[in-house]
Amino acid sequence: MLLINAGELDLQDAPVGCEPEDWMRFDKEITDAGVVVASESLADLVTATRVEVANDGKRTVTDGPFAETREVLGGFYVIDVPDLDVALDWAAKCPGSRGGGSVIVRPIADF
């Protein structure tokens, strides 16, 4: 799984330094390679809602999290590739890894 963290955001909360064309080009390339299992781009952070259930079962719902945290999950790809090196190559091609952003590669657990 490639977790795409936005880097610096401009005033519209869009990542700085990558154009929509870059994303479209990358998405076409990775899709054409036939490795994509699932992918989503997440809606704006202002739409995020946090849910916590305390030990007594009491549910707390809060607005957030806010972009004060340096890493904001902006989207993900689940890809099926043979090994970590291939996954790292895709992560490096992803526009989200540039402009101060980062892509975290997480293997999916086998059960």
């Binding site: 043979p82 090994d83 970590l84 090196d85 790292l88 590669v105 293997p107 657990a109």
Partner: protein, 407 residues
């Protein structure tokens, strides 16, 4: 590791590499490698050494792996593949040797996805054949801590699927420096221990030389590998002259050059020529050249300082790090005098990477003393004493402070 086991050190690495690539599982490969070697130690003295020892070990290890996987449900799919593998005769390569698959293992152990401190540990264990307690001693941590780290690193290789493969030509320039860095950091810890009673830890330095020799055999055309081996041999050649009878530090200027290892110097010099030939030289080749110039001087006074400074100028272009700048300043001090060297050191004073670096404090103290600026020199020697790692380094700083009081 006992004496007999030591004979198998080289064989162990080759066997482990071949099995790790085949199973994609370092733990399984390690277990059956150990079992095959234990079996050999029991059987060979009785039955005689087989005609193809490597093949015998490989076949034995593969059969052990199949036995083990039969008992383990999780590996059912792997078992099917291994069944076929185990039926096959062992490879009959030239000279009755297994194909050498250790190169993959070098790149796996030094993979950037592993924590930097784990890369050296895994390399020493898998490729230099050290046991976990030996690796723990190498890094000056308790055995239990090292065992945990090795388990964690192996788990990451397995679960993140770090591949056992040699990077292709396009990736190699990006990946090879990581492998070289792992070997060189083992060597530097052996050359100047970061802690403990001794200045040098020759066992570690020897392990690093052994690893570099293996890598050089596997990648003979890679000039930085050649350069790294040359650099280490040319430094290691001075090992017997660097410590006094009391274990104290003997500086280059005071070393008895008759105690240098001429054989290693000759080998290192041949390698330097190869590392410098055929295009722009890399940082290891240039550092090797600097050490070749030192080793070629009949005595300290005969050192070709202009040549050494010129080589540091080249090195600084390739590797503009504060440590290189510090070494260059020391060479300039020898060529142009202490004043010039100190002026260069002062330009580096604010670099955070040198603030707690013992060699910087010591070099500065030395130049201040030579210039007769004794109060400042005393202060700098006190700083060097505070930053010293090993006992001989502390003793050296204390001697200098005593000398300051005697002026």
């Amino acid at each position: 590791m006992d004496q007999v086991e030591a004979v198998f050190r080289e064989e162990r690495g080759r066997l482990l590499a071949a099995l790790a690539r085949r199973f994609g599982d370092l733990d399984l490969a390690e277990e059956v490698t150990s079992e095959a070697i234990e079996t050999a130690l029991l059987r060979w003295p009785v039955d005689g050494v087989p005609a193809n020892p490597g093949g015998w070990l490989m076949t034995t290890a593969r059969r052990r792996a199949v036995d083990r996987l039969r008992r383990d449900q999780v590996y059912a799919a792997k078992l099917a593949i291994l069944q076929i593998e185990a039926e096959r005769p062992a490879p009959q390569a030239a000279g009755d040797e297994l194909p050498d698959e250790r190169l993959q293992l070098f790149f796996t152990c030094a993979h950037p996805a592993l924590a930097p401190e784990d890369r050296g540990a895994l390399t020493l264990r898998c490729l230099a054949g050290l046991t976990t307690p030996e690796v723990a001693r190498a890094f000056l941590v308790p055995t239990a801590t090292m065992a945990k780290r090795i388990v964690r690193a192996k788990k990451k290789i397995r679960e993140a699927r770090i591949p056992f493969r040699v990077p292709d030509a396009a990736e190699l320039p990006e990946r090879l420096p990581g492998v070289l860095q792992v070997i060189y950091s083992v060597f530097t810890e052996g050359y100047a221990a970061s802690a403990g009673p001794y200045l040098q830890r020759l066992d570690l330095a020897e392990d690093a030389v052994r690893l570099a020799r293996i890598l050089h055999r596997l990648l003979p055309a890679e000039r930085e590998v050649t350069g790294l081996l040359a650099l280490m041999l040319l430094i290691h050649a001075r090992r017997d002259a660097r410590s006094g009878p009391d274990g104290g530090i003997v500086l280059l200027e005071d070393q008895d050059r008759g105690h240098w290892d001429d054989e290693l110097i000759a080998e290192g010099r041949d390698l330097v020529v190869r590392a410098l030939t055929g295009g722009v030289a890399g940082p290891y080749a240039v550092q090797a050249a600097i050490n070749a110039v030192h080793d070629e001087a009949a005595d300290f006074a005969g050192t070709d300082w202009p040549q050494i400074v010129a080589l540091y100028d080249v090195l600084l272009e390739l590797d503009p790090s504060p440590v290189v700048a510090l070494n260059r300043a020391a060479a300039v001090a020898m060529r142009d005098g202490a004043e010039a060297g100190l002026a260069l050191l002062d330009t580096l004073a604010d670099d955070p990477r040198l603030r707690d670096y013992h060699p910087y404090a010591l070099a500065r103290a030395d130049l201040l003393e030579r210039l007769g600026r004794l109060p400042e020199a005393t202060e700098a020697y006190e700083r060097a004493l505070a930053l010293a790692g090993s006992e001989p380094e502390r003793a050296q700083a204390r001697d200098r402070l005593a000398r300051m009081r005697a002026y």
